[in-house]
């Protein structure tokens, strides 16, 4: 057994032993849920919702004879577990343990690469790709493409709250009256343009084909062109014009009572000098020597302050995230700390 494996075995045994001791002496790592039965009656376009605590009973069903019904589980604090409608949740408990063990697996990379980290990384890649694809499907393909290509069916199955597009406002009424010919003609005339992104999308998928890969250049070119066109305007407006506008500051500032405001004057002068000198540093068409070189040097100092501040800010952000993960482990999972008093009385 090499030294690396020995360290892992020791960590594994110490960690497992600590968990066993904790399990023998106290409770931890449990999640609770509050059940609710929702009865919904829709009349005249308004919904009457009655959320009854607990699972459905013969009495609650009898009290809502014509209502649609479903149950939902809301997260409950362990301190509320004596409530008759709060129960131990297997799904959330398994989730909590998965989250805790995966968190530890990622943390283990701080000691070096290991199978636990690689397993967590593989799960992360799969879940992230799946998450992005699902979000793209429901928010992009359904809401933007299907809602225009097949609005009636989309409204019927996926988006009942879909606002009628002016182009097919009459279609819904005609569809319901059985005039399918009209709907087909109208659809052909008005939604033809929506076929373009669909065709582009199919062409984009040709990238996966061994020989027809060049076909994907067309949608890719559209994508690149649209990105360039959008970014050009957006960045020119927000990062160029707005930033210059914001730098046109008064260099002598007076307060409302007409007294001289030294602090604001110094701040404004520093900002204007800082922006101009930093821009001089970025100007490479002239040799940085003499007065120009001196101003450029001042610009470098301003940029160094900016990089130092950004570094400090970024590190603090990461440390906050690190502290939150530790808080999750010690509070939600191990029940060692309880800053929000969620287990008060246990």
């Amino acid at each position: 057994m090499n030294e690396n494996n020995r360290v892992w075995w020791i960590l594994f045994l110490v960690g497992g032993g600590a968990l066993l001791v904790r399990a023998a002496t106290t409770e931890f790592g449990k999640s609770y849920a509050r059940d609710q039965t929702v009865y919904v009656t829709v009349e005249g376009g308004t919904a009457e919702v009655d959320a009854v605590p607990g699972l459905p009973t013969a009495e609650s069903d009898a009290a809502h004879p014509d209502a649609a019904r479903w149950t939902r589980s809301l997260a409950a604090d362990p301190g509320e577990r004596d409530d008759p409608h709060v129960r131990f949740s297997w799904a959330d408990t398994i989730g909590l343990w998965c989250a805790a063990l995966l968190t530890l697996a990622i943390f283990s990379f701080l000691f070096g690469d290991n199978p636990g980290y690689r397993l967590a990384e593989a799960i992360f890649v799969g879940v992230s790709a799946g998450y992005a694809m699902i979000a793209g499907f429901w928010e992009g393909i359904v809401q933007l493409l299907l809602a225009k290509l097949i609005p009636v069916a989309t409204k019927e199955h996926f988006l009942p709250g879909l606002e009628p597009d002016p182009r097919w406002a009459d279609d819904w009424a005609r569809y319901q009256s059985g005039d399918l010919g009209y709907v087909a003609a109208e659809w052909a005339a008005t939604t033809l343009l929506s076929l373009v992104p669909l065709v582009f999308g199919v062409m984009l998928l040709m990238r996966l084909s061994p020989k027809g890969g060049w076909i994907s250049r067309w949608p890719l070119a559209f994508f690149i062109g649209a990105t360039a066109g959008l970014r050009l305007i957006v960045h020119f407006e927000s990062d160029f014009i707005r930033q210059i506008q914001a730098t046109l500051l008064p260099l002598i500032v007076f307060k409302e009572d007409n007294s001289f405001d030294l602090a604001q004057t110094l701040a404004n002068v520093t900002i204007v000098v800082g922006v101009l000198s930093s821009l001089v540093y970025f100007f490479f068409s002239k040799e940085h020597e003499g007065v120009f070189g001196g101003v450029s040097r001042l610009g470098i100092w301003f940029l160094m302050i900016t990089f130092g501040a950004s570094f400090g800010y970024t590190v603090m952000g990461r440390i906050t995230l690190f502290a939150q993960r530790l808080e999750f482990l010690f509070d939600d999972w191990l029940w060692i700390i309880d800053p929000l008093q969620r287990r008060a009385g246990l």
Binding site: V38, V42, A47, A68, W70, R72, S73, A99, A100, L102, T103, I106, L119, I123, F124, G126, V127, A129, G130, Y131, I134, G136, F137, W138, I141, L144, H157, F158, L204, W214, R217, W218, L220, A221, F222, F223, I224, G225, A226, A228, G229, R231, L232, I233, H235, F236, Q243, I244, T270, V275, S278, Y281, F302, I305, G308, A309, F311, G312, Y313, V315
Partner: protein, 245 residues
């Protein structure tokens, strides 16, 4: 056909969007282009998913080194897809209780939200959080106050790091108390209160950092404009790749 049409398409799309920003009558063209862009972006995720599957399935079928991890990736990917597309555990909207597919796919308590809360969020947050250790370790090894510029960067980073914690307020309070034992605070307080670490951090962020960031943003904007124009005018054709495929 393979290169000319894409070049024309990129230029036409880009210039239509630029014109649409300035000509109100052409606003609907811009809206169509943006909608198509968003749809294509969503379809690109399908391409990404397909590419991920093909890469990992090949690794599994060839039984390359680490194929077990590929299997885990494929299973997690497919499970997320099935749960997200099937909307398991999603309640219908209250106004349309008969439409079971119409609920929000991210609804709390649903299968997809379970994956998000217990797999995706902890993994992503922990992945980013361990960067704190790597950044700190790299900074410890690389940061050396060798010249004026490096010293300025180091001192600023130290002030901002400390100034964002409670330690800065505590140190400032202790310094205030000590000074007040020697001199009347009414005399010195208005002049040196800005030197407290927490106040100094605010000044650095609001004044010096603003100036530097503004210059960088102006530079980035000019860079984006020139790069975009190079793409739209066909000077930069790197996105077309080679003619091999």
């Amino acid at each position: 056909m393979k290169r000319t049409v894409p070049l024309f398409l990129a230029a036409a799309t880009g210039f239509v969007l630029i014109v649409a920003s300035f000509v109100p009558a052409a606003g609907s063209w811009g809206k169509y282009a943006v909608d198509w862009f968003n749809i294509l972006a969503a379809l690109a995720f399908v391409l990404g998913g397909g590419s991920l599957l093909s890469q990992h399935l090949k690794k599994i079928s060839d039984q390359q080194a680490g194929w077990g991890y590929s299997l885990v990736t494929v299973v997690s990917f497919l499970a997320t897809l099935v749960v997200g597309l099937g909307k398991f555990g999603v309640a219908p909207p209250t106004l349309h209780p008969d439409k079971v597919w119409a609920g929000d796919y991210k609804e709390a308590g649903s299968g997809f939200s379970w994956i998000f809360d217990y797999l995706y969020t902890p993994l992503a947050a922990t992945m980013f959080s361990i960067l704190a250790c790597f950044v700190a370790s790299a900074a410890f090894r690389a940061f050396r106050a060798k010249n004026v510029e490096a010293t300025i960067l180091l001192v600023t980073a130290f002030i901002v790091l400390l100034g964002r914690t409670y330690a800065a307020i505590w140190i400032g309070d202790q310094a205030d108390w000590l000074a007040s034992q020697v001199v009347d605070p009414a005399i010195w307080h208005p002049y040196v209160t800005g030197l407290r670490l927490d106040k100094l951090t605010e000044t650095i962020m609001d004044v010096f950092n603003t100036a530097g960031t503004r210059a960088i943003m102006i530079g980035i904007a000019l860079g984006i404009v020139s790069t975009s124009l190079k793409v739209l005018l066909g000077v930069d054709r790197s996105y077309l790749g080679s003619d091999d495929r």
